[in-house]
Symmetry: C2
Subunit: 153 residues, 2 copies
Amino acid sequence: MAKRKTLKQDACPVARGLDVVGDLWSLLIVRDAFDGVRRFSAFQKNLGVARNILSDRLHKLVGHGILAVSPASDGTAYGEYVLTAKGQALFPLLVSLRQWSEQFLYRAGEPHSTLVRQDTGQPVPKLRLVDDTGRALAPADTVVRKLPSGEAA
Amino acid sequence: MAKRKTLKQDACPVARGLDVVGDLWSLLIVRDAFDGVRRFSAFQKNLGVARNILSDRLHKLVGHGILAVSPASDGTAYGEYVLTAKGQALFPLLVSLRQWSEQFLYRAGEPHSTLVRQDTGQPVPKLRLVDDTGRALAPADTVVRKLPSGEAA
């Protein structure tokens, strides 16, 4: 058995979330959607992914309510893919992935795209997990409370 | 061509990050490591994943410097896998995935594991992207500044 049954019903939100967006292409599509990409052909050009894979992932993202199909803004027959509120809510996930990657996967001075504020052009500050008083919370300050059954991490 | 060449050298930190952790099993292993899992057999039991896949992913995570192998804490011959600083830095990513999933993938009242503070047992607050003054930043407040070449989103 190469794959566990399914994560869809998992009691751990990390697992259930990965079942929906734990896929390279899905997250790259969501990234592009945040950047304003809306057309199949534009996703295809940007990602260099095979059309059948792109089609499958777009279909899946629409099925999960992360993207919605809307009429083309230019009045042509092509549909456009836009982020729903559920899709927009993936922003912190993409930002945390970006910031981790910037810190650990680039050599000093190696150029990369940057997330900046629209108004000032200043880099967006590091995403921090803080408590209600604004104090930073480290992993060791937290613990996962599992279900009484003890099932699933 | 089913797969784009490689994301390893991509100028977009989201893409490069996904190349390293954009895998279901890799992130579930990192999740378990945050929960204190250290042994091959314990990961295997928790994840219900085939041994060859687990072995491959652990090897990859060690290769990327996300996990390190350390001597068994009980003096036996088994190695243990522990998060490095680079691995620990994935905490905000897992928290943002968890919080998004909690918000959108569970029915009202459906039980799930919860991330709480170790000291008070209170749920960890929502991860928020804020500017230097503490004001929330929405996706529309930000823009990705690409490299001059315009290559890669």
